[in-house]
């Protein structure tokens, strides 16, 4: 029997409706438990070669490496630096070889997906960047109320948030606070 994964978001993060109860929820949130996340970081001068290796192995087209050129399963967090989802660390390491570091972050990062009609108003409270300038598919390493957070725009009103596991409980609590006025539905 495999061990039970521990919810990193704390006891207050419970499925159902939170905050404003009337009307439809302004914000929907879900946490993907058990997601395989691998962090890769190219060695100096090897970023382009690493992207080529990732493309060859997994078909990810990461362009020239700008944060706007990402994919849902390859979120750019810095120059030559990505969070890959869906492939385990051994597979990724085999693909990038000596071009890059590859480490398992499946437990180290928590991915929250948030969406809903009030998403822009919510993110205006947590993130200093202008959403209007992000194309779908773009990633931005920034902060969530001053907690390091990488945002990935999945769709018009749908975002993935990647935060450090030990911060997840604070992120969860603050997300509950910030979305209370809109009504939050946790899946």
């Amino acid at each position: 029997m495999s061990p039970v994964l521990k919810n990193p978001l704390g006891a207050k993060w419970t499925a159902g409706r939170h905050g404003k109860a009337e009307g439809g929820p302004g914000v929907l949130a879900s946490h993907t438990a058990g997601l395989t996340i691998v962090e890769v970081a190219a060695l100096p001068g090897q970023a382009q070669a690493m992207r080529a290796a990732l493309k060859a192995a997994f078909g990810m087209d990461l362009g020239a490496g700008s944060p706007a050129e990402g994919a849902e399963n390859a979120v750019c967090t810095g120059p030559g630096q990505y969070l890959l989802t869906g492939h385990d660390v051994a597979t990724v390491k085999a693909a990038v070889g000596d071009l890059a570091l590859a480490v398992d972050q499946s437990s180290g990062r928590v991915r929250l997906t948030i969406s809903g009609p009030a998403i822009a108003a919510l993110l205006a409270k947590t993130c200093p960047l202008d959403l209007a300038t992000w194309p779908v598919g773009a990633a931005h390493a920034s902060h969530f109320l001053h907690i390091a957070c990488t945002y990935f725009r999945r769709g018009d009103a749908e975002f993935d948030l990647y935060v450090g596991r030990s911060f997840a409980q604070s992120v969860g609590k603050w997300l509950l606070d910030a979305s209370a006025e809109f009504g939050l539905e946790i899946a």
């Binding site: 810095g78 200093p128 390493a141």
Partner: protein, 102 residues
């Protein structure tokens, strides 16, 4: 205040942590350096504290975590650009070599 990060673009200053002036590169590896050597003194202690155009280290700590050298006017606070720290000293050296070649 906004700071330009070569990777992330224009970002608010709250995402950055300043370190101080980038006025001299770390002395090359020697092994028998003395604390009183000029290169070490310049690297560690000598700061011109200029009123005007300066180069300063900033860490994009709530962002891509790159060290960058920000070109800022201390008289006006105007940020005119930035360079990755990993390229800054090489660029300086190239500029010097180019000057010397003239």
């Amino acid at each position: 205040m906004l700071i330009f990060c070569p990777h992330c673009g224009m970002r608010p200053s709250e995402e950055f942590t300043p370190k101080g002036l980038a006025e001299a590169p770390r002395p090359a590896l020697g092994g028998d350096d003395r604390p009183e050597d000029d290169a070490w003194q310049d690297y560690l202690h000598t700061r011109t504290n200029k009123a005007g155009q300066t180069n300063e280290y900033f860490h994009h700590s709530l962002g891509c975590r790159r060290w960058i050298v920000v070109h800022r006017n201390t008289l006006t606070h105007e940020v005119t650009g930035s360079t990755m720290a990993s390229e800054f000293w090489q660029n300086q050296q190239q500029a010097q070599d180019w000057e010397a070649g003239q």
